[in-house]
Symmetry: C2
Subunit: 416 residues, 2 copies
């Protein structure tokens, strides 16, 4: 079963992010519908029609979003009448919905909104609970065209409540098995060398994808489940073998987030954590607190950006900074120990480094970062050399720090 | 001049957000190159080739991103050899760059990375300063195909440093005048109502685009400059008039970032700032410190997530929290005053709120945030009600806090 998404709107061609398409692609592929292509075109008759033609060449399901608004620059309905050689007709149920929405705000339906109840006669209306533009469902020789508004909240509700359930009924959608292994601390190319023998064992039906983002590489295995053959066990075995090869780099699976994993590890044992940040400037704390419920285990941080804050607020010995520099093993360790004592937490992490673009020296170039983790009875630090890009350095240092924390928690509270 | 963007990668068809395409579309359209279509396809030979064919039917410039990695699932180079009927050849300059990147990390070039220096013989390599995959430039009968890696930082640097300047030279790209007005604190639909009369005065040659992101709406005016006619003055006038109508919401222009603006305001007058964060959990500090050189004016923050950290470390009166709650005007004001004194800065900002999803009450629902700014001789707080989404609440609270800080600095140090 194959689908194609067509996003319609000039604003998407001048820099507006297309969050609708990625949301839909995720929904479709998670439900076993393969997305072949996503196409973004302007509100232009010819471009919309040529996209529709090319989409139906390969795909049974074509979904469009956008261009259903009441203003003159929205042309999708007009173009569809042309495409299907039919006229607009008044749709009572769509009108009733528009009237209901206006009444709820104490307003009468305006002329321009009344026109939104007109739909191409070869379509049926799909209800739009939160907006005035109905969706459109076209059946064409066993294929379907689904037309939705571009407002994300309206589109999502329409898709989840009406379109997806009906698609599942109409088409026999195969079951998709997908497992993802999350790795941190190993680059994509080195990883691919290390697991190249393992990769050769993957049966051709199972697809492997490398999904890299700063400091993290996700390995995804996907297969379409057919009658008779079961791949679930084969995938489990592959993941087991992968763990033997690169276990030290694996921090989680599937949709898990690093901060979620750490959150669960901490809250399960009633543990707490605090951070002393320098070069990461709050990003490390932000990552952990982006997880809902983080107040259960995260107590707070001191962002000691200036040296005098390190000295006066974090009580780092100023001689230590003078002798070894603020970016040093000694200072990192001291920062982690001090914040752990001060904030009375079970764990603490400290990060001090040179994010750049300035501040680097021959001995300590931009990208040099020391990360210290203070645990049950110990504290230790590691040095990293990231790159020259400030934002990437901040991101990589924070993710690496979280993973070191994760390993430390496991070492002392989960491994016997 | 028309361009088409082809994003390559199966991950984009299963829900990964395509930020490259929107960034490129923004760059192209801001530089007078009309984007006709954005197409996302998988790492599949046939789909890539049919996209290339269809793109070159209409557009002189075709840009692809993705599929240049060293692993087996990246097929773009192989497909291009097929498309142009040529072989891969070793490219010395690309190899030198790979070697340089490896040496900087004290590593030897691996076999798989050496292969990244091979490029189709009909292309020339475009330098990649921060990554191992070179870009590719193909000239085809007056049209061009530009092939870039999918890693956003590498792609952006390659486009800005090498591709855009050469495109401008090669094609007679008409001069585009583009001015953007940056607003904060006013929603898109309300904004469009407030400026509807102003909008009617815009001559038809000048295009207005609304570019909304959380808590910020950018208004972009663009016009293609023709010989004889000059629009520069008309646009300046329009911006002047806009300032009369919505001046209180305008925080900057064009490519300025809020954190850059604040950085300049502070460093010009030798001023410093510190933050006391609760619900924003470090994101406010992160925004300011993402600006290079922020150590000049930013001294540090205390992230007082737990109430006992607010009491013991920030010295907030525990009775104040008991009486008014941690999310209150009183506590916000006290947090800002205390951090300003403690960190000895000229300004301080405090944020306390309920980011959600839990913790809301009937009186203080999720999304309630108090932001206090302590300035020269005064401190005051404002209440905001954002929404139900945790990440959006953190983002909106942080951006709003920065803008309040900006206003306070201007009020006391820049306005007479």
């Amino acid at each position: 079963m194959q689908a194609e998404i067509i996003s319609i709107g000039y604003e998407l061609l001048s820099g507006h992010e297309n969050t609708n398409a990625s949301w839909l692609a995720n929904q479709l592929s998670a439900n076993g519908i393969n997305v072949r292509r996503i196409c973004t075109v302007g509100d232009d008759k010819n471009d919309i029609i040529s996209s529709l033609n090319s989409a139906f060449e390969y795909s049974e399901i074509v979904i469009t979003t956008g261009g259903l608004g009441p203003t003159a620059d929205d042309v999708t309905k007009k173009v569809l009448c042309k495409y299907f050689d039919c006229n607009l007709v008044f749709c009572k149920s769509a009108y009733d919905n528009i009237e209901k929405l206006f009444k709820a705000r104490g307003l009468n339906v305006t002329h321009i909104n009344k026109k939104q109840a007109e739909i191409p006669e070869k379509a049926r209306a799909i209800p739009n609970i939160s907006g005035t533009a109905p969706g459109l469902w076209f059946d064409i020789d066993g294929k379907v065209l689904l037309v939705m508004p571009g407002v994300p909240s309206e589109m999502k509700m329409m898709f989840e409540s009406f379109i997806l359930p009906e698609l599942k009924l109409k088409f026999k959608i195969p079951k998709i098995i997908s497992r993802t292994v999350l790795t941190q601390g190993i680059g994509e190319s080195y990883l691919s060398e290390v697991i190249s023998d393992w990769e050769k064992k993957i049966p051709p039906q199972i697809k492997l994808a490398y999904l890299p983002s700063p400091c993290i590489v996700k390995l995804r295995l996907t297969v379409i489940e057919n009658d008779g053959e079961s791949f679930e066990h084969i995938i489990e075995n592959l993941i087991f073998e992968l763990n033997e090869i690169i276990g030290e780099y694996i921090y989680g699976h599937d949709n898990q987030k690093m901060e979620e994993i750490i959150g669960s590890l901490l809250s399960e044992k009633n543990l707490t954590v605090s951070f002393a940040e320098s070069c990461t400037g709050g990003y490390l704390s932000h990552l952990l607190t982006s997880n809902p419920g983080s107040s259960e285990y995260y107590k707070g941080s001191l962002i000691a950006y200036a040296n005098d804050i390190k000295i006066k607020e974090l009580h780092i010995n100023s001689q230590l900074i003078e002798e070894f520099g603020a970016v040093s093993e000694e200072v990192a360790i001291e920062m982690a120990s001090k914040i752990k004592d001060k904030f009375k937490t079970d764990f603490a992490v400290a990060v001090t480094g040179i994010a750049g673009p300035d501040g680097g020296t021959a001995k300590k170039p931009v990208g040099t970062v020391w990360i210290a983790v203070a645990g049950k009875n110990n504290v230790s630090a590691q040095k990293f050399l990231f790159g020259e890009n400030r934002i990437l350095n901040i991101t990589k240092a924070s993710i690496t720090a979280l993973n070191l924390l994760r390993k430390e928690i496991i070492k002392y509270y989960y491994e016997k």
